[in-house]
């Protein structure tokens, strides 16, 4: 099958080939020993049959045709029975080819599926820092290019190389048995062939790498220009970009021609070295035959003919091996990258405090409940053996002297201390990079703090199981990510078992209901390509609806309304107020009008809280907030 796999040749760098191969082998064949044995047996049979077929002609000529001519045989009957015998052997060979390819198809596809699934699972379990540090393209290429090369290797190359190797060995043995002198000629030709192949492959590899680099450049340019095509038009820049494009397109064409030429040239070279070898064999062989009487008695024409046939079936598997070895090297390089990825450390979670459904009697006693009660409590087992305690989830958040840096020695947040009582609204204000978003990322433990303490309902969040901690925090992030699926499914992302009615109620709360109903299929409208066609504002409404359906005690809104125009925002506001009711809310906003009614506003600057208080208090203090509010201060 054509595909992206043949575009990355030449980029082979295998560091631990042996180890990677061993691991891959056990990954693919673990628990499949029996099937592997059958495959191996079938490959041997089919190789034997191939050799048999190559020498069939010798038997035909020496045992049947010549005797018939010379009159040693007087009927075709023995030949007929021989042909029936041969047919049986061939049928056996054909059958074994079918059996091993059939088994390998399932083994290969199962292995690929397992590897893909493992990779995706790993992708979900990695800490956020992985995503910060790795380009999306690099991860995507693991799933596409590297898995593709594995498919080629497991599906074809592995079996191909084993069967070619077996064929080569058997043919070699047969050839030596027939005539060691002629075998020497074949070996000499093979050495020459391998030498030529190697040097052409080296050249081709170099050009191929250059071609890939140029191709990446051209494709990158295309991507950039097409994405910015409207800007190009507005600036009448068409002519310029055409000129730039021509230059790199020309370079690409040049390297492509070179790389293509070298890889095309392999076929004719291999074939004609084979032809020349044939001539040399005929020459030497005939010489021996003609002079057979003198020193090499026993040589027959049939033998020579068979040898010639054999020599032809020798070159073929040799070039097969060279080709497949190349593929295997490429695949190992990919496998190495994949294993490296799979070996990465998962997001660590040592939490043992869990979230459970509960009931609460009039005295405030909390008991765990198996059923869904709509009330939640933290279940806190204690290491000292004292009985498990239950704390009802209220949504109180405290931060004490929190320091944080993305890297150990570069602290970006200093001495953050704050209290949010259940139901309070806390706002963060400050310039880009002041650390507003970072604080909220610490609450849900996307990152772990360097120093200080964060408590949720009085429990250190490091003790809470991450999943449960996140369940109790609703996040409406700066960028809304929509997943392909219906609108209904996207809102339901907040709570998988939400009924349709719950979803619609949430959408109504966020004022998203109206625009959803105007879409062609309402709630069943399919969303594709990260919500292509939806405006930024509509996406944010969906994101708010998503949080509403999740119904968490604590809500974090990071610029949740930044792209909603003020007109729509007033519409959303009432829904938002309803959503915020009874919850602890953290708000980050650029527009000061949205934070005015907060219980407390924190002004952040360079990772420190420099002012805090209510809107009126801060205005009265005539500090930074006052200047921000009156527009006299730069906020970026």
């Amino acid at each position: 099958m054509p595909g992206p796999m043949n575009r990355r040749m030449g980029t082979t760098m295998v560091k631990h080939g042996g180890r990677t191969f061993k691991r891959l082998f056990s990954e693919v064949f673990r628990g499949k020993g029996l099937r592997l044995a059958v495959v191996f047996a079938c490959i041997i049979i089919s190789a034997l049959v191939t050799v048999f077929v190559s020498s069939m002609i010798e038997t035909l000529i020496d045992d049947y045709v010549t005797p018939l001519i010379t009159g040693q045989l007087d009927s075709f009957a023995p030949l007929f029975s021989a042909i029936v015998r041969w047919a049986a052997i061939m049928a056996f060979g054909v059958l074994s080819v079918y059996v091993y390819t059939r088994i390998m198809v399932t083994i290969a596809q199962d292995a690929l599926m397992n590897i893909r699934d493992k990779m995706f699972e790993k992708l979900q379990r990695l800490p956020i820092s992985y995503y910060d540090q790795t380009q999306h393209g690099a991860t995507m290429s693991l799933f596409t290019n590297d898995v593709d090369t594995l498919q080629q290797m497991i599906g074809q190359s592995l079996v191909g190389i084993v069967s070619s190797l077996l064929t080569v060995i058997m043919v070699l043995v047969t050839m030596i048995r027939n005539s060691w002198q002629l075998t020497l000629v074949v070996i000499a030709a093979t050495v020459i062939l391998m030498y030529v192949t190697k040097s052409v492959a080296k050249k081709s590899g170099r050009n191929f790498a250059a071609q890939q680099a140029n191709l990446a450049r051209v494709n990158g340019f295309i991507e950039e220009m097409i994405n910015g095509s409207k800007v190009v038009k507005v600036f009448c820049h068409e002519g310029e970009s055409e000129k730039d494009f021509d230059a790199i397109n020309e370079q690409l064409c040049e390297t492509m021609t070179k790389a293509g030429s070298y890889s095309n040239v392999m076929g004719p070279i291999t074939m004609n070295i084979g032809n020349l070898q044939y001539v040399v064999l005929v020459f030497i062989g005939s010489a021996i035959c003609i002079m057979a009487g003198d020193f090499a008695s026993g040589y027959t024409v049939g033998m020579l003919a068979a040898f010639l046939q054999l020599s032809r079936s020798f070159a073929n598997p040799i070039s097969q091996i060279a080709q497949q070895a190349n593929f295997i090297l490429m695949a190992l390089a990919g496998a190495e990258r994949i294993f490296e990825f799979l070996d990465r450390e998962n997001e660590v979670d040592n939490g043992y405090v869990t979230l459970v459904n509960c009931t609460e009697d009039e005295n405030g006693n909390v008991t765990e409940s198996e059923e869904r009660t709509g009330r939640w409590a933290w279940k806190h087992p204690h290491t000292d053996g004292s009985p498990v305690t239950y704390t009802p989830v209220r949504g109180a958040i405290e931060m004490h002297d929190v320091d944080f840096g993305y890297v150990q020695d570069k602290i970006v947040l200093h001495d953050i201390t704050l209290y949010a009582k259940p139901g309070q609204k806390i706002a963060f204000v400050g310039s880009t990079g002041a650390g507003k978003t970072t604080i909220t990322n610490l609450l849900n433990r996307f990152y772990d703090i360097q120093d200080g303490k964060i408590r949720f309902d009085g429990i250190n969040i490091n003790k809470i199981r991450k999943d449960d901690l996140r369940h109790s925090l609703g996040m409406i992030l700066q960028d809304t990510h929509l997943f392909s699926g219906t609108i209904m499914e996207n809102i339901r992302f907040g709570k998988l078992d939400a009924t349709d009615d719950e979803v619609i109620a949430a959408a109504k709360l966020a004022n998203a209901h109206d625009f959803i109903m105007m879409m062609p299929d309402g709630y069943n409208t399919m969303i594709e390509n990260d919500g292509e066609g939806l405006s930024q504002g509509q996406r944010q409404l969906l994101s708010i609806a998503r949080a509403a359906v999740a119904d968490p005690p604590v809500l974090v809104m990071d610029e949740a309304t930044s792209s909603i125009d003020t007109h729509t925002e007033t519409l959303v506001q009432s829904g938002m107020d309803r959503l915020m009711e009874g919850r602890t809310v953290f708000v980050i906003a650029h527009r000061l009008s949205t934070v005015r009614n907060s219980n407390c506003i924190m002004v952040l600057d360079h990772g420190r809280i420099i002012e805090r208080g209510t809107h009126d208090e801060l205005l009265a203090a005539k500090g930074v907030y006052y200047r921000l509010y009156t527009g006299a201060f730069e906020l970026e």
């Binding site: 494709n219 295309i222 038009k233 004609n272 005939s286 929509l482």
Partner: protein, 579 residues
């Protein structure tokens, strides 16, 4: 379709024609050699005629050398033809895209345009190379080999009269069965990649909602369906090899049997029998090759179709047509304008627009999302054509101008703006190729983008793809500077300071007022602050102009405006102004 694509061959017509010829030459030699080999055995070895052997050996060596030269030459011309063709094809699509109007661009998604120009072109290129090399090679080899068998093997050729139709039918049935399954596999692949991509970009959402398990389940589903489809398709595909092998073996056995009879009858030599074996393999392998070509071509057919869709789309605005080349002044007038993106008969997004803007004025436009603000201004630079009515710039209908001339004088800072990889300087040169250092500094100062000066490399600071190494506010200011360098008569800002704080926004407007006096300035904003001091404020609602006036006038009579002011400025109408 082929006609459209073949236009891109051009100067590579030479190698394109020579390659198949060279291939035919190579094949002829390839077929000839086994015959010579047969002769050597029958007439040389059996007869013990060393002279004959020497003569024929020389002949074979010569043929091999000839075949080698044909093959190598063909390798080069084929690479040249296909790379050149791909180059031209890329060139043609790219140039064609440059001629596209906004409407044309809207009709394709950007990601699909990118795929068409990259993956699809690569697929077509592969097929093109195959067409020139193998497409002739396989059938020619097939015919030659048949002829040779008829020649050396005589009646043995009858075996193929049976074998070939059998194998053709088998291959055809197989392909028909497999093809739709493979198509499905490809689609599933796209889906799988999409799920991965989505999770890469949306990982914070996934983690925040603890949806890892859910996503894994979704992924495993599509991963399993790929596996099942693949196994299904390959269950058939793997029949191919044993099938062809079986037919080949049957042919060989038949040749053994009938060949023996022919030799007995003195109608054939042993060597001829051997070369018949070689031809048998050639015939069968060329059949398989033909089958492969057909599959591959049908795969790349979809790619070719997608490319042709782009090439066949006619650009609906002429970039460099006849028309006025001078814009006299910055007056703008809308006369009874109706506009719809879909053309006549579609729902209108601008209705009954009538307004006159004088040269040099600063005009603000306010209104909710979807009220038609961006549509309105896009008609001025003729990014789209009006559906009804007319738009005049400098007292002439915009359709009377040469498009390039018009757009050079009417600068638009788009809402969705982009910087391009390069340097700050190279990006600014988009505005004016010959801009001097002084002019660039001036534009950067007006746009309040002085952060460039404090950067280590100044104007030569690197800009990464999409300008991602700059903050949102910085990008917007660079885009403004770029537009200013055009020295336009009309400059339009489509919400282009949304990420800039109020104070800087005010400074930019002040600078525009002082330093870009002559140009008409139109500012779309969601912030009342940004348009407070404009000469005119246009309030848009639902595709209509709801009101036009100055801040004071609107404060007096317009409820929508009053509401906006009160929400955003808390009733303090002077808050955030320039003073």
């Amino acid at each position: 379709m082929l006609k459209l694509l073949s236009k891109s061959i051009r100067e590579y017509i030479g190698p394109t024609i020579i390659t198949p010829l060279l291939m035919i030459g190579e094949v002829a030699m390839e077929v000839l050699i086994p015959m010579l080999m047969a002769l050597i055995i029958d007439n040389g070895v059996y007869a013990g005629d060393m002279d004959y052997i020497v003569r024929m050996s020389v002949l074979i060596v010569l043929s091999a050398l000839l075949s080698l030269s044909f093959g190598v030459a063909g390798a080069f011309t084929a690479a040249k033809a296909s790379s050149g063709f791909a180059k031209n094809l890329r060139h043609d699509i790219f140039y064609h895209l440059q001629d596209f109007s906004f409407r044309n661009i809207d009709s394709f998604s950007t990601s699909s345009l990118i795929t068409r120009m990259t993956t699809d072109v690569q697929n077509v290129q592969q097929s093109y190379q195959m067409l020139t090399r193998i497409c002739f090679r396989a059938p020619v080899m097939f015919i030659f080999a048949i002829v040779m068998v008829a020649n050396t093997g005589g009646s043995l050729v009858m075996i193929f009269a049976v074998a070939i139709p059998v194998i053709a039918v088998l291959v055809y049935l197989l392909m028909r069965k497999v093809h739709p399954i493979f198509n499905r596999v490809f689609k599933n692949y796209d889906k799988l990649n999409m799920v991965v991509e989505e999770n890469l970009t949306g990982i914070r959402t996934v983690k925040a909602y603890v949806r890892e398990a859910h996503q894994i389940e979704k992924f495993n589903d599509s991963s399993a369906s790929i596996r099942n489809d693949f196994v299904k398709a390959q269950k058939f595909m793997i029949l191919m090899n044993p099938m062809v092998q079986a037919v080949a073996y049957i042919c060989m056995l038949a040749i053994c049997w009938f060949g023996a009879h022919l030799i007995m009858g003195g109608k054939m030599g042993t060597g001829q029998l051997m070369s018949t074996f070689t031809y048998t393999m050639q015939i069968l392998s060329s059949l398989v090759m033909i089958a492969m070509i057909i599959t591959m071509l049908s795969i790349s057919r979809a790619s070719a179709e997608r490319i042709c869709q782009v090439l066949a789309t006619e650009a609906d605005m002429e970039l460099d047509g006849p028309g006025l080349r001078e814009v006299e002044n910055g007056d703008i007038e809308f006369r009874n304008v109706n506009f719809s993106y879909g053309g006549k008969g579609q729902s209108l997004c601008l209705k009954d627009i009538n307004i006159k803007i004088n040269a040099g004025e600063m005009v603000g436009i306010l209104g909710p999302t979807g009220s038609g603000k961006s549509s309105l201004i896009s008609l001025i630079a003729r990014l789209y054509d009006v559906t009804e009515g007319s738009v005049l710039v400098g007292d002439h209908d915009v359709r009377e101008y040469n498009l390039t001339a018009l757009r050079n004088r009417v600068a638009v800072v788009l809402q969705k703006n982009t910087l391009f990889s390069g340097t700050v300087r190279s990006n600014l040169q988009w505005g004016n190729k010959d801009a001097t250092e002084e002019e660039m500094k001036w534009a950067l100062t007006v746009a309040n983008a002085d952060f460039v000066f404090s950067a280590k490399d100044g104007l030569d600071s690197i800009v990464e793809q999409g300008g991602n190494n700059f903050s949102g506010g910085q990008k917007q200011r660079l885009c403004i500077a770029r537009a200013l360098l055009k020295n336009p008569q009309v400059i339009i800002f489509d919400d282009s300071t949304s990420a800039v704080d109020t104070a800087t926004d005010a400074k930019i407007r002040q600078a525009l007022r002082n330093d870009v006096k002559g140009a008409t300035k139109i500012i779309i904003s969601q912030r009342v602050n940004s348009v407070l001091d404009a000469d005119k404020i246009i309030i848009m609602d639902n595709g209509r102009i709801q009101d036009v006036g100055t801040h004071d006038e609107l404060m007096e009579r317009n409820e929508v405006y009053q509401a906006l002011v009160s929400v955003q400025l808390g009733g303090k109408e002077n808050a955030g102004s320039d003073e």
